[in-house]
């Protein structure tokens, strides 16, 4: 720790908070080396300023100035509250993280016990690896998540396991509307060779007033396939930051769809490394924003081997004073020949005061690749409106149909009918109420 240079007030507040966190977390001191290394990295990086490369479009001033306390991790949440957030089909395959910490008594694993192992990180090798990866971690909030994680859970899926039911991971925050609290979850997925699994992650709050800062790693072995569906449904006065790192081996598949309802500030950071030949990545996202809701996506995809495929499609519907951004770069390394990569961002703007920033980017260091990218910001298409009106639909109804349809084209790629239904009743409902 540097004690010669004066730290700015916001960083100081977090350093003080960390001392309290370490004190409270003494029973779990095995993670101390991680907490210290991560805090050191945080001090080196400091909070982002407006010109920070990773936070160009995201204003974190209010967030870092909030007088956070550490969330109570031994809080009890009634079972019926948990149950109301569990998708049907996942009743016996759900992992519950309450205020960032895995809660075994609220979790139910009967349906997946044979192929899925869940444990606190205990191997020294694992810990060393996580600490080593911090050296290249340039996202200050991801560093903070590592510095403040009370536990680190490892979920292992055995080789060739075909997990028959979807696994739901529920991140539930209790929050405190009178004094904001913060917590971090740290999760590592190790997907064995040729294993297949489907995961639904949902972020919710019992009440507002929290900062949920999550980091998870996906280590996907050769030939394995993962379908990940993320549902962000926090209350408005909450901050939700997440970093998802994906490491893919030969011929593995990772298909992810993120749906975001927005809040005071939501930021998703996806970092994927296609490390071996034939890996395939699909990253889709949809958000529907109104009021002053914000959702920001930051994506870095590294093509490190030949014959890999990555597709990204993000869509945002933005009304009122909503705000979204997309900052995405695909890096095709030297030698990653025959890469096939595309990236598309579409924003549908419904008001004069909404805001969208897009920064699609390609960095190609190989010479035989197929890469495309594009971004659109626009209003409802006049020709589509006219077409629907010639079929007798009213202007208001045609608008609603097109707006829903815009978001729905991503939602339809989600393969769980329960999630699709819920999003139709929550995310898309926002478009009815908002007088589009």
């Amino acid at each position: 720790m540097s004690d010669t240079l004066a730290e700015p007030a916001e960083e100081m507040a977090f350093l003080d908070l960390h001392k309290k966190f370490i004190e409270a977390n003494k029973p779990n001191s095995a993670l101390l080396p991680l907490h210290e290394a991560a805090l050191g990295r945080f001090e080196t990086l400091g909070f982002p300023h407006s010109k920070h490369e990773m936070y160009t479009f995201v204003n974190t001033k209010k967030l870092v100035a909030a007088p956070f306390a550490i969330s109570n991790t031994s809080t009890s949440i009634p079972e019926d509250v948990i149950e109301s957030h569990i998708f049907s089909g996942c009743e016996n395959s759900c992992l519950v993280f309450a205020n960032g910490v895995y809660n075994p008594s609220l979790s139910k694993l009967q349906a997946i016990e044979s192929s899925v192992k869940i444990s606190s990180m205990s191997e020294k090798d694992d810990l060393d690896q996580v600490i080593a990866s911090l050296e290249n971690e340039n996202d200050v909030f991801a560093c903070l998540a590592n510095a403040f994680c009370a536990d680190t859970m490892v979920v292992e899926i055995s080789d060739k396991a075909k997990v028959s039911v979807p696994i739901q991971v529920l991140f539930i925050s209790t929050g405190d509307v009178s004094a904001p609290v913060m917590h971090s979850s740290r999760l590592i997925w190790k997907v064995g060779k040729l294993a297949e699994l489907k995961v639904i992650e949902k972020y919710v709050g019992v009440q507002a007033g929290y900062f949920n800062n999550a980091v998870q790693d996906w280590m996907i072995s050769e030939g394995a396939g993962v379908v990940l569906t993320q549902v962000q449904a926090d209350p408005f006065d909450a901050w939700n930051f997440s970093k998802t790192r994906v490491y893919q081996k030969r011929n593995s598949r990772f298909h992810s769809t993120n749906s975001s309802a927005g809040s005071a500030l939501v930021r998703h950071h996806f970092e994927a490394r296609l490390e071996e030949e034939g890996a395939e990545l699909i990253l889709n996202g949809v958000s529907v924003l109104g009021g002053k809701e914000q959702v920001h996506n930051f994506v870095r995809i590294h093509h490190e081997a030949p014959q890999c495929v990555s597709h990204q499609h993000f869509k945002n519907v933005i009304n009122d004073e909503g705000r979204s951004s997309f900052d995405g770069t695909v890096i095709v390394n030297q030698g990653a020949q025959l890469t096939n990569s595309n990236q598309l961002i579409n924003n549908l703007m419904l008001s004069n005061s909404c805001h969208a920033d897009n920064k699609p980017n390609l960095m190609i260091f190989a010479d035989d690749v197929k890469c495309t990218h594009g971004a659109t910001i626009g209003q409802i298409d006049d020709e589509q409106m006219f077409y629907l009106q010639t079929r007798g639909l009213s202007e208001k109804f045609a608008k609603e149909l097109l707006t829903r349809g815009f978001a729905e084209s991503i939602i339809q790629t989600i393969e769980f009918p329960e999630v699709v239904n819920e999003l139709s009743n929550t995310l898309l409902k926002k478009l009815e109420a908002s007088n589009v």
Binding site: D382, F386, T390, G392, L393, E395, G405, F406
Partner: protein, 248 residues
Amino acid sequence: MLEIKDLHVGVEGNEIIKGISLSINKGEIHAIMGPNGSGKSTLAKILSGHPAYEATAGNITFEGKDLLEMDAEDRSIAGIFMGFQYPVEVPGVNNAEFLRMAHNARRVNAGEEEIDPLDFDELLSEKMKMLGMEKKYKERNLNDGFSGGEKKKNEILQMAILEPKLSILDETDSGLDIDALRIVAEGVNKFRSENNALILITHYQRLLDYIKPDFVHVLSKGKIIKSGDKALALELESQGYDWVTSSN
């Protein structure tokens, strides 16, 4: 049914249609032919109520009502159908649901109850079978990723579902291979009755081998320069548009 009187139409300040008069009665089929740029599609657009097209002079009445005062939605509900030359793709909107909504819009305005979803599915299946459309087009999104031919079939499917009094089919034959053309034409013929009327807008005579018009009008430079029966279309086919445009 439809009366067009000395119609002039402009788009973005350019006059495209320069005085057309045309009268269409129940049970009639009118073919409007003409070279590229003659104003055929502009006529279709003004009839269907496209906001970018403005009638600068003349008038149109449909069953005695001033058509130019009605917006696209009201025209549809009144019984006018436009089959688009380039049907718009609408991702995210399910084709079958859209068709049901359109069908219900018409019913509700006619004071009828909305159709039972199962009954509608039956109706839709029957009409799709008639047009040789595979069932998967129910599940697909409206025109999204459809081939040119399937888009045109989907237009005729909408016509069959909406049962309009007057249909304007703009270049419905373009993009269709000969088998698809035959199927589409058969679909149109089955739908015909003495109570409805049809305007076929086409560049080529080939569609008229399958759907026999009562009248053929040749449009050139924004005016109808020749009208006749279906023999006129055959003559155009053998002699080309120069024959009729140069003689005027």
